[in-house]
């Protein structure tokens, strides 16, 4: 009887202690889209955090891209089951900021940490002076090209729209396109089109978002050159593989391809049987400055999280304290880290790939963060570009119409200004 009483008391104590421990443990949910080559690295660092922080556990959940960007987050926010931490693209940041969904981080990150972020990377999650996320990587866009074909055709790297079109004319054959762009209207298509717009000295709207600026010579030229790519048969009007992979260039479908730095690891793993080079998207005229755009993801924190400090602690740890950025960006030499110190320390590693060094020295200085226009503006731009490319709509008329539509939208826009400082 005494033994039984002892056993019951002991088991009760164990249960009480267990409940007490469980009560102290916090579990943060961290959502991201599925990306097979990247996720194991993230998972490794989540596990490392979990091992060293038994009281704050992070549950890493990935889901297919279309679910993540389509239904998963809206459904989660609508049902009150949204993640504590998630990855957000710069283009989508403003929608969340306007709804008050993101936790401001200014007071939760130190001055030293902020100073270590590349200035352009820091701008990306900052809206009107408030920091809403921590940038992970920077992936600028350039034109990759088949160096052998350029040499055979006696072509130099084009430095103006006209030179690019001339090169396209020379490189086009019955079985090969000159330049691969994304023919399908999408956020990605606009993302890789912006360097043409900026390189022509134009922009979509004024920095204060009061005035549409599409009805300009530069914007017309940027629309026209993409129209020419399709109308003159320099670019395929449909692609069998994703436009963001380097396969069209590697398989010989095109002689040039407009794509981002993320393809470097794929090029390293499966090198083609020709030399690959890169050059920036040329400016409208040679005397003008060329431009590039960069994307990349941000760690953001749900403002409704029950554990803002713990969530921030995890994000700060993974970006500023762990070796995550080194392993995720530098070791694979296909992404630029958002931190100056990691970029500088990794220069030697990057130097094993001459294209990566070219990205750092030539493309990064002219790269701007992906714009974060409201979706209404994005739709107007997508439609305009698409009609110029496929229906032969006069770029002048298209630019004028886009300008009027954007102006009409801006006149009633009441959200935050998403322009970068």
């Amino acid at each position: 009887m005494r033994r039984l009483a002892f056993l019951i008391t002991f088991l009760s104590l164990v249960l009480v202690v267990n409940f007490a421990i469980a009560g102290q443990q916090i579990t943060l949910s961290f959502w991201k889209f599925t990306a097979p080559p990247d996720d194991p690295i993230i998972e490794k660092y989540v596990n490392l955090w979990n091992e060293t922080h038994p009281d704050i556990q992070v549950k890493f959940i990935t889901m297919p891209w279309s679910d993540y960007t389509g239904t998963a987050l809206p459904a989660a926010f609508a049902s009150g089951e949204a993640p504590d931490i998630f990855w957000l693209s710069p283009g989508d940041l403003l929608r969340y900021v306007n709804e008050g969904i993101l936790l401001p981080l200014n007071n939760l990150v130190t001055e030293e940490e902020l100073a270590d972020l590349l200035p352009e990377a820091r701008k990306r999650p900052t809206v009107e002076g408030t920091l809403y996320g921590l940038p992970v990587e920077i992936e600028p866009v350039a034109i990759f090209y088949n160096v052998n074909l350029f040499k055979e055709s006696g072509l130099d790297v084009p430095k103006s729209f006209e030179a690019l079109l001339n090169a396209a004319e020379k490189l086009k054959t019955k079985d090969r396109y000159s330049i691969i762009i994304d023919p399908v209207p999408s956020y990605y298509q606009l993302f890789i089109w912006y360097p043409f717009l900026w390189g022509a000295g134009a922009d979509v709207m004024s920095p204060d978002w009061k005035k549409a600026t599409m009805d300009t010579e530069g914007a017309i030229a940027a629309l026209k050159i993409w129209g020419d790519f399709i109308q003159k048969g320099y670019s395929p009007s449909t692609l069998p593989m994703p436009a963001g992979s380097i396969d069209p260039l590697v398989t010989g479908l095109g002689a040039m391809q407009l794509v981002g730095m993320w393809v470097l690891s794929s090029l390293e793993q499966n090198p083609p049987d020709f030399e690959v080079g890169i050059f920036p998207v040329p400016a409208l005229r040679e005397e003008m400055s060329p431009a590039s755009v960069f994307g990349g993801w941000n760690f953001v924190i749900n403002s409704k999280t029950r554990y803002p400090e713990e969530a921030t602690a995890f994000c700060r740890w993974i970006i500023f304290e762990s070796d995550f950025l080194k392993e995720y960006c530098v070791d694979r030499a296909s992404k630029l880290p958002s931190r100056v110190s990691v970029l500088e320390a990794g220069r030697e590693t990057f130097s094993r790939n001459p294209l990566a060094i070219e990205f750092i020295d030539k493309i990064l200085p002219i790269a701007r963060p992906e714009p974060r226009y409201p979706t209404d503006v994005v739709k107007i731009l997508m439609d305009t570009l698409s009609f110029v490319m496929f229906t032969g709509l006069d770029p002048k008329e298209a630019a004028r119409s886009a300008n009027a539509q954007i102006q009409s939208y801006l006149d009633t826009y009441k959200g935050r200004i998403g322009a970068y400082d």
């Binding site: 969340y96 449909t238 069998p240 739709k379 698409s386 009609f387 496929f390 229906t391």
Partner: protein
């Protein structure tokens, strides 16, 4: 006297009990979402954050939206191409393989096979076939015809899309027609033969009139299927080029899940639902009047 009403009530109750599972499914998956679409259509919602009530603004914007008008025209063109071709091909195939023997069984299986394959796989296969260096262009090149853009052309993309949907649906409707053909008594054909009727006369005066209920089913189902086609558009063209393959349903999807205009997307979806209902009822009425 006392037992009869009870027995009747019991029968009615049993009937309702059998219907309940179907009704619950209908309620959860069709009626409630339809009302939710109207509710959402009365709001502005970016997918995250709070919904804002805007009254009928979304519904009022629909007729003046040029892309909606374009998507409606694309939908009508798709229906005008798909419904008659689907009817014709599935009926011809059904007539060809109607009599069961070893050879027709093989052909029935071949024709039906695409129905069993997922629309995503079929979409991908057709997408590869229609590429600039795809098999179709290789075949065209072999007979001296120049490379066609197919999915990248505003004129060719919709016919290619319709061909893909036909490829997958004809086998299914063929089976429905075979069932309908087998229900027609052979004696009528024999009597017609005795009277000297040839194949075409039998088809016109016996087969087609007696297939009317099956034809109605085929027409209504193919109308609804074509109206709601999504996977093939997403895989083959993404609605492009320049909205040449964007149907009303696909446009509402893009508005909601690409541009995060859930309210306006829902309003368009509800309008699409109404259009489908009106078209289906019109078809029913037309067939009834002919009867």
């Amino acid at each position: 006297m006392f037992l009869r009403p009870n027995h009747r009530t019991l029968r009615i109750l049993t009937g309702y009990l059998f219907v309940i599972p179907d009704f619950v499914g209908l309620l959860i998956f069709f009626i409630v979402p339809a009302f939710l679409a109207v509710y959402l259509g009365l709001h502005e919602w970016s997918g995250v954050g709070k919904m804002r009530y805007v009254g009928f603004v979304n519904f009022r914007s629909i007729p003046t939206d040029p892309i909606f008008v374009k998507s409606l025209l694309v939908t009508l063109r798709l229906l005008a191409l798909f419904i008659p071709l689907n009817f014709l091909f599935s009926l011809i195939l059904a007539l060809l393989v109607q009599i069961p023997d070893r050879t027709t069984s093989v052909f029935r299986t071949i024709y039906f096979a695409p129905v069993a394959v997922s629309s995503v796989s079929i979409g991908l296969i057709w997408k590869f076939m229609c590429q600039p260096n795809g098999i179709l262009n290789v075949l065209l090149a072999s007979i001296g015809i120049e490379r066609q853009p197919f999915l990248g052309s505003i004129n060719q993309a919709l016919p290619v899309l319709v061909s893909t949907i036909l490829y997958q649906s004809v086998g299914y409707f063929m089976v429905i027609f075979i069932a309908g053909l087998n229900d027609i008594p052979q004696e009528i054909y024999e009597a017609a033969k005795v009277d000297g009727a040839n194949f075409l006369q039998s088809l016109r005066f016996i087969t087609l009139p007696l297939l009317k209920p099956v034809s109605l089913f085929v027409l209504v189902t193919s109308l609804l299927n074509a109206f709601q086609v999504f996977d093939q558009i997403q895989i083959l063209t993404g609605g492009g080029p320049a909205y040449a393959t964007t149907t009303v349903v696909f446009y509402s999807y893009r508005l909601a899940f690409e541009f995060y205009k859930f309210g306006y997307g829902s309003a368009i979806n509800f309008v699409a639902f109404l259009i489908q209902m009106v078209m289906s009822l019109a078809l029913f009425r037309l067939m009834r009047e002919e009867k």
